[in-house]
C-alpha cells in the first residue's frame, strides 16, 4: 500500500498537519476528491496521532462567563426556533400545517408562503424590539473597496443581536456571498451572518450571534467565498467607519 501510494502519503502527512499549500495542496485535495480510500484511511490515522499533540499542553479552565455565554446562545436558538410567541392565527395555521403537510403536497406550496409571512412578522417584531432598546446602536455603513456607492445601516445590541440593511451593492458572483462581521478592539473579525441581496442591490438580515467578551467597535460586510465563516479574506464592501 505504502509503496504504490508513497507519493500521496507523503503529502497526506503534511496535509494532516494543515501545512500543505500551493499546488501540492490543490493536487492532494483533488486526489482526495477522487475518493481514494487508502489516503482517506491514512489521513484519518495520522490525524488521530497528531491530535494527541494537544495533550502535551496543561488543560486550562476557561472563565465561567464563557460557558454562560455559550449556554445563553443555545438557549436563545431553541427559543427562537420553537417558542417565540406569535400572532394566534399564524401559530394555529402552522400547527395545522405541521399535522397534515406530510401527506399533502399541495400544502407545501401554501406552507412556504405562510412560513414566509410568519418569518417576516417575526423579524419585524425583532427589529422593533431592537429599536426599543436604548442600548441599541444605529450605525451607518459606508461603501468601501469595489463598492464605493454602497450604503447601509446596522442596528446592533451588545447582547449579540442586530439587524442590517444594505443598498446599492453589486450582484453576488457565483460561489460568493456577502458576509457580515463585527470587530472588537484588538480582536479578529467575528462572522455574525450572511446577507442576500435582491436584483436592486438591496438586502436585509437579522443577526443573532453569541455575545462577545468585548463589544464590537467596527462593523463590516465583505465579499467572500460561500461557506467562509472563520475569517474574512475578500474585499470589504461596507464598513461602519468612513475611511
Amino acid at each position: 500500500m505504502a509503496t504504490e501510494h508513497e507519493y500521496w502519503l507523503e503529502r497526506g502527512d503534511i496535509y494532516a498537519l494543515d501545512a500543505l499549500d500551493g499546488d501540492e495542496l490543490k493536487e492532494f485535495q483533488a486526489h482526495l476528491g477522487s475518493n481514494c480510500a487508502i489516503c482517506a484511511a491514512y489521513l484519518r490515522e495520522t490525524r488521530e496521532t497528531l491530535n494527541l499533540l494537544h495533550r502535551a499542553l496543561r488543560p486550562v479552565t476557561p472563565r465561567p462567563e464563557v460557558k454562560a455565554r455559550v449556554l445563553d446562545e443555545i438557549r436563545n436558538e431553541r427559543v427562537v426556533s420553537i417558542a417565540t410567541p406569535q400572532p394566534k392565527q399564524a401559530t394555529r395555521w402552522l400547527r395545522i400545517t405541521g399535522t397534515i403537510a406530510a401527506g399533502i403536497i399541495g400544502f407545501v406550496v401554501a406552507g412556504t408562503y405562510y412560513q414566509y409571512r410568519y418569518e417576516r412578522r417575526r423579524l419585524d417584531s425583532a427589529v422593533i424590539t431592537l429599536l426599543r432598546d436604548p442600548s441599541t446602536r444605529d450605525l451607518p455603513l459606508y461603501g468601501a473597496g469595489p463598492s464605493p456607492e454602497a450604503r447601509g445601516r446596522f442596528l446592533w445590541n451588545n447582547s449579540g443581536e442586530g439587524h442590517i440593511f444594505v443598498a446599492n451593492l453589486p450582484s453576488v458572483p457565483e460561489g460568493k456571498t456577502y458576509a457580515v462581521w463585527t470587530i472588537a478592539r484588538n480582536s479578529t473579525p467575528r462572522y455574525v451572518g450572511a446577507i442576500a441581496i435582491d436584483a436592486n442591490g438591496q438586502g436585509t438580515a437579522h443577526i443573532k450571534s453569541t455575545p462577545s467578551g468585548s463589544p464590537p467597535e467596527t462593523f463590516a460586510v465583505s465579499l467572500e467565498d460561500e461557506g467562509t465563516t472563520a475569517t474574512p479574506a475578500g474585499p470589504i464592501v461596507l464598513i461602519s467607519k468612513q475611511s
Binding site: I14, D18, R47, V60
Partner: protein, 187 residues
Amino acid sequence: MVTEPMADPISVIHRIATQNRDAFSQFYDRYSPIVYSLALRMLKAQSDAEDLLQEVFLQVWRQATAYSVERGSPEAWLINIARSRAIDKLRSMRRREKSFVLTDDPAAAESPDNVETSAGESETRLIMNSALANLPEAQRRVLELAYFDGLSQTEIAARLAEPLGTVKTRMRAGILRLRGMLGTQAA
C-alpha cells in the same frame, strides 16, 4: 480540581444531537479545558481564545448530528474543529499583520487552582511531552510550528530559512516517528 469522569463521549454527542442541554453542558465541562488550552497556545490572546472556545462549542451544538465515528474520536473531532478555526484566524492575522500581546506559555500563567487535571491526564501529558522531547529538535520544531502556530510548509521554510524539501522531510520523519511512539490511540 479533578475532572469528573463522563459517560461515553459518543453517546453524549448523540444526546447533544437531540438538543439535550445537560449533555452539552457535560461535554463542555469535560472538554473545554483542553480546547481552551489549545486556543491559548495557538492564538495567545485570552479574548481570542475565549471567542474561539465559544465558536467551537456552538459548532458542536449545531453540528452534533454530523458527527460520526468515521470522523475519529469525539476528542479528535473537537480538536480538529478547534485547530481548523484557530489556523484560519492565525492566517488571517498574519495577512493583516496584526500584532498581539504574546505570552510564551499561557497555561503557565494560570494559578494551579484554575487548572483541572486528573491523574490520567497528567500521565498523558507526560507521555506526550516525552514523545515530543524524544524527537530530534529539528523535527519537533517544524511539527510545533505547523501544529501550534498554524504555519504552512512554505511559511516554515521561510521562517527557518531552510529549503522547502528539508522542511517536508523533517515533518514527515517527525510524524512517522510520532506514529511509531504513540501508535493511533483512541482519544
